[in-house]
């Protein structure tokens, strides 16, 4: 597990992170626009520390990290925990970051859809969950488009920008994927229909 492989979307591709990606990671984690919206995957640090972190990530048993690119350019990262012991097999999205200079170009939704195709169509997971700051309009919009629903709301959970913000808890069940996306989002053509 640990470092993710290639998952192709329409405009973006998730791919294995490399050391060359790390300066951009560090820059995003130091960006107040990102920090206002969500928690960071590690604090900004020296290049050597980032290399250590990537090495540690590669050893991770249950969380997978991908870089997101478009047209060969790095534009983001995503990290999810996969698996579940007592509950059904599930994903928990921990970090999903698009370079703030590339926001609102549709990359986020495209990468999120590709990722969820991987979760449901490829890994056959039964659900996916994540939590968001209640004023994170972009991420909430993506969640809603995908088929997530809110199941809980914590009040005044995160402190930032001089005030507390609420947190919403979201889950997307396998049924929502099947209903909305399963027909159009398949990674491989059905067996027997693929050209030989």
């Amino acid at each position: 597990m640990a470092l993710g492989g290639i998952v192709i979307g329409k405009r973006t591709t998730l791919r294995t992170p490399t050391e060359d990606d790390l300066p951009s990671y560090s820059r995003w984690m130091a960006d107040m626009r990102v920090r206002r919206a969500a928690g960071v995957w590690h604090q900004p640090a020296m290049p050597a520390t980032w290399k250590e972190r990537l090495k540690e990530q590669a050893k991770e048993q249950r969380a997978v990290l991908w870089s997101i690119e478009t047209e060969g350019r790095l534009i983001g990262l995503v990290r999810a925990r996969l698996g579940s012991l007592e509950g059904p097999p599930a994903a928990h999205l921990q970090h999903f970051i698009v370079d703030p200079d590339q926001w609102r170009k549709g990359y986020g939704l495209d990468a999120a859809l590709a990722l969820h195709r991987y979760f449901f169509d490829y890994l056959d997971l039964k659900r996916s969950g994540f939590e968001l700051r209640a004023d994170n309009v972009a991420a909430l919009r993506i969640a809603e488009r995908l088929g997530y629903t809110e199941f809980g709301r914590g009040h005044q959970v995160h402190y930032r920008d001089g005030a507390y913000v609420d947190e919403v808890w979201l889950v997307m069940q396998r049924e929502a994927w099947d209903e909305r996306w399963a027909e159009k989002e398949r990674e491989y053509l059905p067996l027997g229909k693929a050209p030989r």
């Binding site: 199941f151 809980g152 709301r153 914590g154 959970v157 507390y164 808890w169």
Partner: protein, 192 residues
């Protein structure tokens, strides 16, 4: 860190855990009565690693752990974990290992003492927890000291032929019942 001694009613108190207490936990978490709504009933903890665990909790700077004592004997644990000092929020938990003592109000009293410490000594602004909805004793004990339900996670896990939903709760300093403040905070002459 370990929490200090806080003496409650009916012979119940919180106190800093000892190595012997940690050894008890190893055994308790393997029992069917105790794991009805909690834990997988397997562990990497052994009596031999108890000291390591104790040190880890003792040295941690984002948690406060206590043993719960009843009539002078250790019967369980409670605490607050994963404290974010920026958000001033943390997750609380409780575990009573002596199942022969369930239903005697031990959890309710331990939660009361724990929450009083959190609000009056740690300066936190919020606490939260997730509890199996079917584990009424646990969420009731928390509710009585100011927790309220903020959501339900559907079909969280499966046990013995049934799906279990989870009760999501949160508490704030101003939801702690005013009349229930324990000693020393309620004592006359207490600087507060």
């Amino acid at each position: 860190m370990f929490g200090p001694r806080i003496v409650g009613d009916n012979g119940i108190e919180l106190r800093p855990p000892t190595l012997e207490d940690y050894k008890l936990f190893t055994d308790w978490q393997m029992r069917p009565e105790v794991t009805r709504f909690w834990g997988p009933r397997f562990t990497t903890d052994t009596v031999a690693t108890a000291e390591e665990r104790l040190k880890r909790h003792l040295e941690s700077n984002d948690s406060v752990s206590w043993s719960i004592a009843y009539g002078g004997e250790t019967v369980g644990f409670t605490g607050i974990f994963d404290i974010s000092w920026t958000d001033r929020d943390g997750e609380t938990g409780i575990f009573i290992g002596r199942h022969d003592l369930y239903g005697k109000g031990i959890a309710s009293e331990a939660v009361r003492l724990r929450m009083a410490f959190i609000w009056n000594e740690l300066g936190l602004h919020r606490t939260h927890n997730w509890i199996a909805l079917a584990n009424e004793g646990s969420w009731r004990a928390n509710q009585k000291s100011g927790y309220s339900q903020i959501g339900t996670y559907p079909r969280s896990w499966f046990r013995s032929g049934e799906w279990f939903d989870e009760w999501l709760g949160e508490a704030f300093p101003n939801t702690f019942p005013a009349g229930k403040l324990p000693s020393p905070w309620r004592d006359e002459g207490h600087p507060k």
